[in-house]
Amino acid sequence: MQLIFAGLSGIIFGLGLILSGMTNPAKVKGFLDITGLWDPSLAFVMGGAILVGVFAFALAKKRGQTILGESISLPDDKQIDRKLVIGALIFGVGWGLAGYCPGPAIASLLSAGLQPVIFTLGMLAGIGLYKIFQSKQT
């Protein structure tokens, strides 16, 4: 059952990314270009997602377990540290350079030519590199 809902979630997530314009790197860059010709559309994507998300997460918290009766694992990390901010800044630079963030890149893997494939390979390498760095530190 969990696998069915995970697949359904992935499909609906992807449909939302396509419909909203997030899978078009030129549109993402248009949103990030606030000092130029600015396309505010992507603010509406986040607005729409949060509008639905707020109810879902409030309900999840109130129920304390999933509809299938399993436990819910929400992040409990509340720490706001350098790692969070510097990591997010590095992510933002990559996002601005490519016009891709992780979701839209994966949703474009088989449907938008070589570019999202190269970006995704870089992203997987970056995730792996950081995990190696992390395990050597601890």
């Binding site: 697949g7 992935g10 997530f13 819910i72």
Partner: protein
Amino acid sequence: MIIDWAHFTPLASLAGGALIGLAAAILVLFNGKIAGVSGILGGLIAKQQAAWRWVFIIGLVISPFIYGLVQPLPSTENQTSLLVLLIAGVLVGIGTTASSGCTSGHGVCGLSRGSLRSLVATLSFMFAGFVAVFIVRHLIG
């Protein structure tokens, strides 16, 4: 700042956003998991609870073909060179792993949960994105 009215799509973007919210709702209410794409990928690399992660990713990958059954896929435009895309990908991988989330994990799920940590992350990556595009488009380009 000049608004780009020619490319402005508030209704489609709002509706698409609501679908993304619905996807996050399904994942948290049925599976108890956060729909953060970088986190899901990171878990795959670390080989943690791989099955549901694979299925979610496969759903994401096939979504354009399902979209295409209903209506033509919107045109996309990408003028970034492959080298820059590769470097950008590495930065996104490192950055999202260090900060434990991306536009979906922090931006959608985190803000929906009212997480202050996610708000700080979201403001940080938006700011860096604005600066990166400003430099590439208006200082170098």
